[in-house]
């Protein structure tokens, strides 16, 4: 705690948080492993399904070393993982890195595209709502965004498909992206999932922005600014907003993390090949190496985004930079 008083406190914080993050990931990997182990059945049965016979299941288990005790398999996996070897999928024997790589890129692509739309829109709407607090405009914005967040995301998705894809035929109903497409074609293909996700996350960020600014607006220094006769827009944007950044950054980070890890339903509806579907399939097939790797990527996303949010909050707020 002492280092925090020194000027390099941010670097120290980052190092410390990364250290804690690694411990968190280790614990999570243990939990995931135990969780998958606790599920009934194993990969051999799940893959062979209805057509499993005792001999084929036994042959399967032997080949995949599923007949070894659980702790031995975990230690073997961890040993390889630490060396950077993610292992092979048990179900189709392809390297996990190869399975996850392009899917994670797809997930990030969708999340980034959504964030590019959603974050500016949410922040601007939040500022405007605070600016015109309790007017009809404020109420309309709040009502609209709260409605979109209240509907389940698949419902929003189907409404958008019905309107923009089936009725008007402007955007494709399935987001079938592949390597043969250029960037513009990809953006076009993911427009509907992107819009769905944006509608779902905007409300949260917008409400938080509004609340944080309104909170600041009751501070003495805002009163001072008002007394000086500054324009209301300037008071809100230049005086209140920078001071409200910290909670806004936190809620944005939370929503970005959601965009990476929580979009499996949107992926299914739009047939988008992201990481979520892979994780669901792998859990149902008990494919531990893939579940572990995807789980850890999701956990790492949360750890890193939270860290980033904390660092940005500190940077944006001098009081946090020099705690007394």
């Amino acid at each position: 705690m002492m280092q925090l008083h020194k000027p390099n406190s941010i670097a120290a914080l980052v190092v410390k948080r990364i250290g804690l993050g690694v411990v968190t990931l280790l614990v999570i990997s243990l939990l995931i492993f135990a969780g998958v182990e606790a599920l009934p059945g194993d990969l051999a049965q799940a893959v062979l399904g209805h057509s499993a016979t005792p001999e084929t299941v036994a042959a399967f288990r032997k080949e995949l070393k599923l007949d070894l005790p659980a702790h031995e398999r975990y230690v073997a996996w961890l040993g390889a993982f630490v060396k950077g070897d993610f292992g092979n999928s048990l179900a189709n024997r392809r390297p996990v890195a190869e399975l996850i790589g392009w899917r994670f890129a797809n997930t990030i692509f969708l999340a980034a595209a959504t964030a590019l739309i959603a974050v500016p829109v949410a922040v601007v709407l939040g500022i405007l709502a605070a600016l015109y607090r309790n007017t009809l405009f404020d109420r309309l914005i709040s009502m609209a965004t709260l409605s979109t967040i209240s509907f389940p995301e698949f419902f929003v998705a189907y409404i958008l498909i019905a309107l923009l894809s089936v009725q008007m035929a402007v955007f494709p109903s399935i987001a079938n992206v592949n390597a043969q497409m250029n960037l513009w074609q990809k953006f076009y293909a993911i427009f509907l999932p992107c819009l769905t996700l944006a509608l779902v996350v905007i409300a949260h960020m917008m409400r938080q922005t509004r609340a944080a600014i309104i909170n600041i607006l009751s501070s003495p220094f805002i009163e001072m600014a008002n007394l000086k006769g500054l324009r209301r827009l300037r008071v809100v944007v230049q005086h209140a907003f920078p001071n409200a950044l910290s909670p806004v950054i936190n809620v944005i980070a939370l929503n970005l993390a959601y965009l990476v890890v929580g979009v499996v339903i949107v992926e299914v509806v739009f047939v988008y090949p992201g990481l979520g579907q892979l994780l669901v399939d792998s859990v149902s097939k008990r494919d531990i190496p893939v579940v572990q790797a995807s789980g850890l990527i999701f956990a790492a996303t949360y750890v890193l985004l939270n860290l980033l949010a904390d660092v940005l909050s500190i940077v944006s707020n001098p009081r946090l930079r020099n705690p007394r």
């Binding site: 799940a46 016979t53 189709n92 109903s173 299914v268």
Partner: protein, 528 residues
């Protein structure tokens, strides 16, 4: 008759023309009613055309799939491997009969124990190597070798030996006579790949060559220019997308992003039928749903209990409600109208609460509660079917308690474990395969743990019987035994519903599997 068969075979292999066939047939005084499937496709319909990219949206793909022919468990890989990339020795035609594919012809000894297959000459694999008997032996052994993980192991277990007589002649020695052996060789697992290679690589003899395969997501294949069938493989390219959500499949077809989808939503298919530009195709195949009772466990070891439950279900209402009319009522045995020896003469078992009550009383169990275990994983609508059954049985004074099980792990923890549960069966092309798989004593998937001496005896006799009439009688008797003494309630056979853009052309589809026996990519075409 054999003369006509020979002529038909020569015709399908293109050794004689259709005109010659008619001339020869009438010359020897045969009145030939030629089945349309024997004719090349271009005679049947006005002009299938070459070209275009077929885009299919199929359910049942998973990221854990691979191309190993031994582990083909879902429709997407099945259509891909069996329907586009590969061939078997034998193929099933639109009338459910075995016709030559990689084999040119076959014959057996009268006891059906020894089968001689002549292979087609001049067939090349995608890698250029030409196919011969060694490749076939290697490919069948893929499922026979020790430590195999193949789901088709049980199918080929009865092969004692395979001998290569010459490069294009193969002799199978069977443990017991098996008159249906050609059918067995049409199974979608038993495709032929080049010897000493990993068959999971996707190199086969089929209509299309795999270019890109991302399990559960997308497969892309291009036409095999050296394909040995000249009247198949009409598309230039085939793209198969894994779309598990039925609404996503429906929307994709409606908006023209795919050309064919499988498994329509029963709730909305009537609306779909009315849409312009869409054709909905129905196949009545072998797929059926059962409620399997463990006949080795009380109270189901008492046949009166089983009969009581069989009389306590209203099959018509099941088909109407659960299948929305897209299916047929079952008669408590697993043989479909699409099977050759379906016993149509057996009286249909009717819903009869009085008889149900009578049998329950006879068993001394009046007022007992029966737990029926079900989950959506068993089949779509299984839980609803269970609840409907409960209401129907209540009228007979029978209490059925529906236990909802988790989907996850249903096949390993509920099926064959709980005394009474809901089960899905894809069905089999032959009576023997169906009965040997799930009703024979000791069979791995005998989920009713049923053991009936007369049935087991008939099963072996009928298998080796080459005489049609005697076989029909035996299979008829077996269906009756299962119906009256077996451990299954078979309420319904479910139809397969697929939909396609009306630009897609096709002949009468084969019913052995959905989508024209999985062969839509090979058999269908774009009309213009």
């Amino acid at each position: 008759m054999s003369r006509l068969k020979k002529l038909e075979r020569m015709l399908t292999q293109g050794r004689i023309s259709r005109r010659e066939f008619i001339a020869y047939a009438s010359a020897v005084g045969l009145t030939a009613t030629l089945a349309p499937a024997w004719l090349p496709t271009n005679v049947r319909a006005a002009g299938p055309k070459r070209g275009g990219r077929l885009r299919m949206g199929l359910n049942g793909g998973a990221t854990s799939d691979n191309l190993d022919p031994g582990i083909q468990l879902a429709v997407m890989p099945q259509v891909l491997v069996y329907g586009a990339l590969a061939n078997c020795l034998v193929e099933i035609d639109a009338d459910g009969r075995p016709i030559p594919e990689l084999a040119e012809s076959w014959e057996s000894t009268p006891d059906a124990k020894k089968w001689i297959f002549k292979l087609r000459k001049g067939v090349a694999f995608h890698d250029g190597k030409s196919m011969d008997a060694d490749d076939v032996i290697y490919s069948i052994n893929w499922h026979r070798k020790t430590g195999t993980k193949s789901a088709a192991k049980a199918l080929v277990e009865s092969i004692l030996s395979m001998k290569k007589e010459d490069k294009y002649t193969l002799v199978f020695e069977m443990e017991n006579g098996n008159a249906d052996f050609p059918y067995t060789l049409s199974d979608y697992h038993l495709v032929v790949g080049p010897k000493d290679t990993d068959l999971a690589k996707g190199v086969f003899t089929g209509a299309y060559v795999i270019k890109d395969f991302e399990p559960g997501v997308r497969a892309f294949a291009t036409r095999n220019p050296n394909y040995f069938k000249s009247d198949r493989a009409w598309f230039d390219e085939v793209e198969i997308l894994g779309i598990n959500d039925v609404n996503a499949r429906t929307n994709a077809l409606k908006t023209g992003q795919i050309d064919i989808m499988n498994r329509c939503d029963l709730k909305t298919v009537h609306l779909f039928k009315r849409m312009r530009g869409i054709q909905v195709m129905r196949q009545d195949g072998f797929k059926h749903f059962t409620f399997a009772m463990r006949t080795d466990t009380p109270p189901f070891n008492n046949n009166d209990v089983r009969l009581a439950l069989k009389y306590a279900i209203d099959r018509e209402q099941m088909v109407k409600t659960i299948l929305r009319g897209y299916g047929r009522v079952g008669n408590d045995h697993p043989i479909s109208v699409a099977n050759r020896y379906h016993a149509g003469h057996l009286p249909q078992r009717q819903y009869d609460p009085d008889k149900a009550g009578f049998h329950l009383k006879k068993a001394g169990l009046a007022g007992a509660t029966f737990k029926l275990h079900a989950a959506e994983a068993a089949f779509k609508g299984a839980v609803d079917a269970g609840v409907l059954f409960r209401e129907q049985a209540a009228k007979a004074g029978i209490t059925v308690d529906v236990v909802r099980e988790p989907n996850d792990g249903y096949w390993s923890n509920v099926w064959k474990k709980k005394p009474w549960c809901a089960v899905y069966w894809g069905g089999r092309a032959t009576e023997d395969m169906m009965f040997s798989t799930a009703y024979a004593k000791g069979a791995a998937w005998n989920d009713t743990f049923w053991n009936h001496a007369r049935f087991n005896e008939l099963l072996v006799t009928a298998r080796a019987e080459l005489d049609e009439t005697r076989r029909r009688a035996m299979y008829g008797e077996m269906q009756q035994i299962v119906r009256d003494e077996g451990g299954v309630v078979v309420p319904m056979f479910s139809a397969d519903l697929a939909a396609a853009s009306d630009k897609i052309g096709h002949a009468k589809p084969a019913a052995n599997w959905e989508l024209d026996g999985f062969r839509a990519p090979e058999r269908w075409w774009f009309k213009s």
